[in-house]
Symmetry: C2
Subunit: 301 residues, 2 copies
């Protein structure tokens, strides 16, 4: 089933202990849609500038991503410059140029209106709600957010949270949003705000899923080399939502598999700079790593 | 089968965001042996001072721990004072009084010499090797160490590492010992120093097992309340070694179960101050939480 994503498309300038990359295609909607495209048809709603050319568009087209909702505006595309040091757990933002993203007013094309699976990437919660309200057929709506909105637009964010089914968020932001330092209490508080399903991303430590019935914890895949963590969280969300949209199965057992597919895709993403790890991939590699995750976590009772 | 532990017995003064406790029985050998006593007979080699009285000894006796090797020396027992803040991931040591521990020269009683399972708690690596060499029947010897010995006695530590089968160590110390920031590379480097089996403890993020054949990762048990993390690492080691000594099975599958039993015991330890969580326990609770770990981590392929 079709999966709609709204979020940023950006050009990134990234430095990590393993090297650097300039003006590479990035942004939440990009990482999400490329990751999810390995599972299901994806529709993107985003804005780009005049410097976004045919070669960039071709990256989306090659993955079969529907770019009807990719608006081109006068000006330059959103730019992010950042670096990772040490264990690369946290990005240090050196510069943000919003450019065309500053006045982004997401428009959902008529051909997207029947979308059943929706990912509201990390943008202004007012815009997230606006998009959500245009999608009455949505069966599962997931949301990402960040500290900027938690501190600056908490009331709007809380309103948007009542209109979604899933929140996918970083551990630190989960604690900030809930005001709870204990993860289990943080999860209970957040689920009380609306989303029945909560996924907490813990970077190199994996991810945890909180539902009405249970808690599920999965480690991150232990990699020999992590080149560039940029986009790992959105890639995770792409694998998670992509698997759910593909299967249409929202059972607890399948949500758990979706967390593993999210972790699988994130592990490929961070092995290379930019989108490299997500583009040079095969369905067989994804399946293999899914099984490797089973070997990594399995024990007999 | 009998399990021998050498390490510290201490009186701890601990402050956490949940409260404080003064002069409570602690130390690596104490937490280890109480945890392991739920699985197998335990023999302790340690030193205490004249302030260690009958009520303290009774705690060991009540758990069936053999205290033949618990030497009483003139002076005061080892004391540690520390506090935990925020997410309680790291202790801040405020004061250490070595007292009788300063001149500790571990003596292995004749009745311990046939021990097949051995845990060399975090003491001077020269003393660890000395104990290890007195136990020719040892089938599985595990070692703990810390930054103090890694920086101060690295050559001695490396010599001791060639004489053990298992290293159980914190993530930060594994990186320090190996000089590798990447966990997988750190593990490969450490296994090259001697121990075929490496367990890396990651606090609230769980533990990972590295063997010749595979990597196994387990999360920590998500708890509503963590009162006091003191002793969690030694308690983990007690559950891990206790299960191995009980079963005598050193297969990959059983090593994985041992990691889970270690995690189970650590989860009980941190729920209360001091030894409280490990003393007020039943075999059924341990089994239940072992099964809860399965529910926490299981997914169907």
């Amino acid at each position: 089933m079709s999966l709609l994503v709204v979020g940023s498309v950006a050009f990134d300038n990234v430095r990590t202990p393993h090297g650097e990359a300039a003006e590479i295609l990035g942004g939440a909607a990009t990482y999400f849609s490329v990751a999810a495209s390995w599972f299901t048809p994806v529709r993107v709603v985003a804005v780009v500038g005049e410097d976004f050319d045919e070669t960039h568009l071709q990256i989306f087209r090659d993955r079969g991503i529907d770019t009807t909702g990719l608006e081109r505006a006068a000006g330059r595309t959103f730019r992010w410059r950042g670096e990772y040091a040490g264990n690369m757990n946290e990005a240090r933002t050196l510069e943000t140029q919003l450019n065309v993203f500053e006045t982004f007013a997401p428009k959902v094309p008529a051909s997207y209106l029947e979308s059943e699976y929706v990912f509201l990437g990390n943008i202004d919660p007012v815009l997230q709600l606006h998009v959500r309200q245009q999608l009455p057929k949505a069966r599962l709506v997931a949301l990402d957010s960040m500290n900027y909105w938690i501190t600056g637009k908490l009331d709007d964010l809380k309103k948007t949270l009542t209109a979604v089914n899933v929140l996918v968020i970083n551990e630190g932001e989960a604690k900030m949003l809930s005001g709870q330092a204990n993860l289990r209490r943080a999860a209970a508080a957040i689920r009380g705000l609306g989303p029945q399903i909560l996924v907490i991303k813990r970077g190199e430590y994996g991810a945890s899923l909180f539902t009405q019935d249970a808690i599920f914890s999965a480690p991150a895949f232990p990699l020999d080399t992590v080149q560039d963590p940029t986009g790992a969280g959105d890639t995770f969300a792409g694998g998670f939502m992509g698997h759910l949209a593909k299967t249409g199965d929202l059972s607890e057992a399948n949500l758990r598999r979706a967390v593993i597919y999210g972790s699988v895709m994130a592990s490929f993403a961070v092995e290379e700079f930019g989108l490299g790890g997500l583009l040079r991939l095969s369905a067989a590699q994804i399946t293999d790593r899914f099984h490797d995750f089973k070997k990594l976590t399995h024990f007999d009772v």
